[in-house]
């Protein structure tokens, strides 16, 4: 089984709450769920829609074909009816449309009778649950858990009326639940909380804001200082101050805000102060499409900041990956005293999906702080060592030892120097850390067949559609597989070199227009892709699109 419900309407019509309730309910009935939102950048009006896909098997992304459309306005029907499956159905208020193939219900009046016309979405939800053939208990429990008391009764009442209004259409049985339902940004924030982040600051910018708001929500319970600050320039400088003082610190934004952090990123590089930064990408340039998705900031974050210094860039592939990689990012940042940049995107950030609960016991906090007695004399914050990593202490924690960090080129104490030799030593020291870092990097995930003739390369959240498309193609006995990059800079080349040998063609799939990953492969492995499947219209790949475009190139 594999179903998709689409809810469409204008901003402000209550789609958010409805989709949240419905998604969570479907999860509680035991299904694997994937929620995908398509918002316009407006507070009110415009056309928004949300697709909830669910199955008895794991789902990784959205599909084009739809089983149920719940249309809150006429536009929804016009825009999406072409995607309805043969046995699919459109559900709408009778005021919206009474076309032939549409189940036009008396939603609004029913809601009014239940106590509030705004509860119309709950009437619809009741109808949907009934049509799917599910009992009402779990959905009602979700409403109880989620809605404020003041509106609970009205909505439960509305739900029941909607439930009674229609006939069963599909015959679904509930299954065992035990999974969590979470989106990418929440998983990142949770990873940061698990890793002991105690300082998060940022400036609101779609689609990164929910990392900030989650941290804010958990701030008091966990003792995490969270602040919405004056601008992104301040955000990274503050995080660096906090990290200098010994606290695990993080900031985040989307491309435009990350652009404003470029100078401070370079500061992090020279003061060798650990910090974690998340860039939740959206389509640029400049303001671009604020509520949509793209993977176009890879080269930008790899090279952002003047001068040369080691950094790590990790792209996040799904919500589980987002959680664990965020916790790992803090350890790597402190181990090598470098900035670590997490690359997410709007699609992953907002897409809620079911996943096995994160295992907090697996999370290790390794701070690599120097705690033993220090030698007599002034403390050398930038002591030259074999590894390039200097023993790091926290200011105020060692009597008679002070900690000096400096944005100028400096000597081992952190004092300004202009000596050519010290300059060279310090550049070499910092660069050594970059070389060491290469030993930490994880090779990409290999999915599909072991030695594919058709080798896909991709990174980050494209994982979902590629995974499902490959499954379909493997069923058709096509020799296909993919390398999905998570750690992406420094760039891991082993698996690519190995798999490219037996591959007949390399196919690069990216959510951008210039094939940035292909550039990395050429530069670091002297390997180029043969075919590029690129998408830069601001929307994420669906399984269908990846499948279709792969079929075209393979045949």
């Amino acid at each position: 089984m594999n179903y998709t419900v689409l809810i469409g309407g204008a901003a402000g019509q209550g789609m958010d709450t409805l989709s949240e309730l419905l998604t969570k309910s479907l999860k509680r009935y035991g299904f694997f769920v994937f929620k995908h939102s398509d918002y316009m950048s407006r507070v009110r009006g415009g056309h928004n829609f949300i697709q909830i896909r669910f199955s008895d098997k794991p789902v990784y992304t959205y599909e084009e074909n739809i089983d149920i459309i719940f249309a809150l306005n006429k536009e929804t029907i016009d825009l999406h009816k072409g995607r309805l499956k043969e046995d699919g159905i459109i559900l709408a208020d009778k005021e919206v449309s009474e076309e032939n193939n549409i189940l036009a219900l008396d939603l609004e009046d029913t809601a009014k009778n239940a106590g509030n016309s705004r509860a119309m979405t709950s009437v619809g939800m009741g109808s949907i649950i009934k049509m799917l053939g599910l009992k009402s208990d779990k959905a009602l429990k979700v409403m109880e858990d989620t809605l404020k008391e003041s509106i609970l009764d009205v909505n439960m009442n509305a739900f029941s009326k909607g439930y009674e209004m229609v006939e069963k259409r599909f015959n679904l049985d509930s299954m065992n639940d035990g999974r969590i339902l979470i989106d990418g940004n929440t998983a990142v924030a949770m990873g940061a909380a698990a890793a002991g982040c105690r300082y998060y600051c940022g400036y609101p910018m779609t689609p990164s804001t929910t990392v900030l708001s989650n941290m804010e929500k958990w701030s008091h319970g966990l003792g995490i200082f969270t602040e919405q600050v004056e601008d992104e320039v301040a955000a990274l400088n503050m995080a660096l101050g906090a990290s200098y003082a010994g606290v695990r610190a993080m900031t985040g934004s989307s491309g435009g805000g990350i652009a404003l952090m470029s100078e401070a990123l370079s500061l992090a590089g020279i003061i060798e102060t650990p910090v974690v930064i998340i860039n939740v990408q959206r389509p640029g340039p400049a303001t671009g499409l604020p509520t949509r998705t793209e993977q176009a900031d890879l080269r930008f974050v790899m090279h952002s900041g003047h001068g040369e210094f080691p950094r790590m860039v990790i792209s996040l592939r799904n919500v589980e990956d987002a959680f664990y990689q965020t916790t790992r990012a803090f350890n790597l940042a402190e181990k090598y005293q470098i900035p670590v940049i997490l690359l997410s995107d709007q699609y992953l950030a907002d897409g809620a999906t079911t996943t096995v609960p994160f295992d907090f016991k697996k999370v290790k906090i390794e701070r690599f702080l120097h705690e033993e007695k220090l030698p007599e004399g002034r403390y050398k914050r930038y002591e030259l060592t074999e590894s390039g990593v200097s023993p790091r202490i926290i200011p105020g924690k060692f009597e008679d030892k002070v900690v000096l960090v400096d944005s100028d080129e400096h000597d081992e104490y952190g004092n300004i120097t202009e000596s050519a030799q010290v300059r060279k030593d310090m550049v070499d020291k910092r660069n050594k850390k970059g070389a060491l870092l290469e030993s930490e990097i994880q090779e990409p995930w290999l999915i599909g067949v072991e030695s594919p003739e058709n080798l896909i390369v991709c990174w980050g959240s494209v994982y979902g559609p590629v995974k499902e498309a490959i499954e379909l193609l493997v069923e058709e006995e096509i020799s296909i597989g993919a390398l999905v990059y998570g750690d992406i800079y420094p760039f891991p080349i082993k698996l690519l070199q190995e798999k490219s040998k037996s591959a007949k063609r390399i196919i690069d799939i990216e959510n951008n227009s210039t094939a940035q990953l292909d550039g990395l492969m050429r530069q670091f492995a002297l390997i180029k892709s043969d075919i590029k499947i690129l998408k830069y219209d601001g929307r994420a790949f669906s399984i269908d699109e990846v499948y279709r475009r792969l079929k075209e190139v393979i045949e």
């Binding site: 890793a195 319970g221 003792g223 003082a245 008679d400 100028d408 952190g414 004092n415 300004i416």
Partner: protein, 282 residues
């Protein structure tokens, strides 16, 4: 444990006001008996911003215009540290103008010493945000064409609880002002006149000396309107001393877990403490 702050001899130009300011700063910290490992000097870039290199305190010498953001991060992470942000007029009021405004809004407990010589020193003589209109500089050949910032009036109107002005030519007063600023619970803004002997031939030591006068003993520094008047006085006479001082709740005290808990830096980190977050997602 030592409260000694001497380190290297600075290499500013002979006659530079910074020599007096660093002397006063060391004296203030020593008289307050703050152990050197508990004090942090945070600066941006410029001649004044070289301060951390010449004093035996913890130091964060960051980016131009950005002394305040790291100072905030440091104070919130470890409230036990004495945090002093220090930088020049261009650094603070120009490049860092936005941070200046918003730090005042926070009222975080840090002392902010602005070395104000009304010119850019390190980059060799361009006009700064406090350079007078019409003054000819190494860049503004035809004279500065914008009005100068009035730093004390700005911080007052933004709601700062401690606003003061000092002069590098009066060390005893400067030491007292610095001590008051450090002891003040909240954001303390101290603008310090200093001559730049190389690049500012207008606002010389003598220029300042001829103009500054101490606020009278009976001056009421809790009177906002009086303070505003004094903050706008910038002509033949310029007042020094504490223009305004009132008690206000600090930013960090508005966070219960910071106010009543140990410093954030001392929190025991354990991933399992956060596991409860999962409950909302089943």
């Amino acid at each position: 444990m030592t409260c000694e702050y001497d380190l290297y001899d600075p290499s500013w130009c002979p006659g530079c006001g910074n020599y007096m300011i660093i002397k006063a700063l060391k004296q203030a910290l020593e008289e307050l008996e703050i152990p050197s490992h508990m004090a942090v000097i945070v600066t941006g870039i410029g001649q004044a911003a070289k301060m951390p290199h010449y004093i035996a305190a913890n130091g964060f010498n960051g980016l131009h215009g950005r002394a305040l953001p790291p100072a905030i991060g440091i104070k919130l992470s470890n409230k036990d540290l004495t945090v002093i942000a220090e930088s020049g007029d261009g650094d603070t009021y120009g490049e860092g103008g936005n941070h200046f405004i918003h730090t005042i809004r926070r009222n975080i407990n840090i002392a902010h010493f602005v070395h104000d010589n009304q010119i850019y020193g390190l980059t060799k003589g361009q006009g700064s945000p406090t350079t007078a209109m019409g003054q000819v500089t190494t860049l503004q050949y035809d004279g500065v064409k914008v009005e100068p910032v009035k730093p004390l009036a700005l911080s007052l109107t933004m709601g700062a609880g401690f606003v003061a002005r000092g002069f590098s030519g009066d060390i005893p007063q400067l030491v007292e002002l610095m001590k008051e600023a450090i002891l003040y619970s909240g954001y303390a803004h101290l603008d310090i006149f200093q001559p730049c002997v190389v690049w500012n031939k207008v606002n010389t030591f003598q220029w300042y000396k001829d103009r500054v006068y101490k606020l009278p003993e009976d001056y009421d520094y809790t009177d906002f309107n009086a303070a505003y008047k004094k903050a706008m006085e910038f002509g033949d006479k310029i007042p020094t001393g504490i223009l305004f001082k009132v008690e206000k709740e600090t930013y960090e005290d508005r966070f219960e877990f910071i106010k009543n808990g140990p410093p954030l830096v001392d929190a025991e980190l354990n991933p399992m403490d956060a596991e409860k977050l999962l409950n909302d997602f089943y």
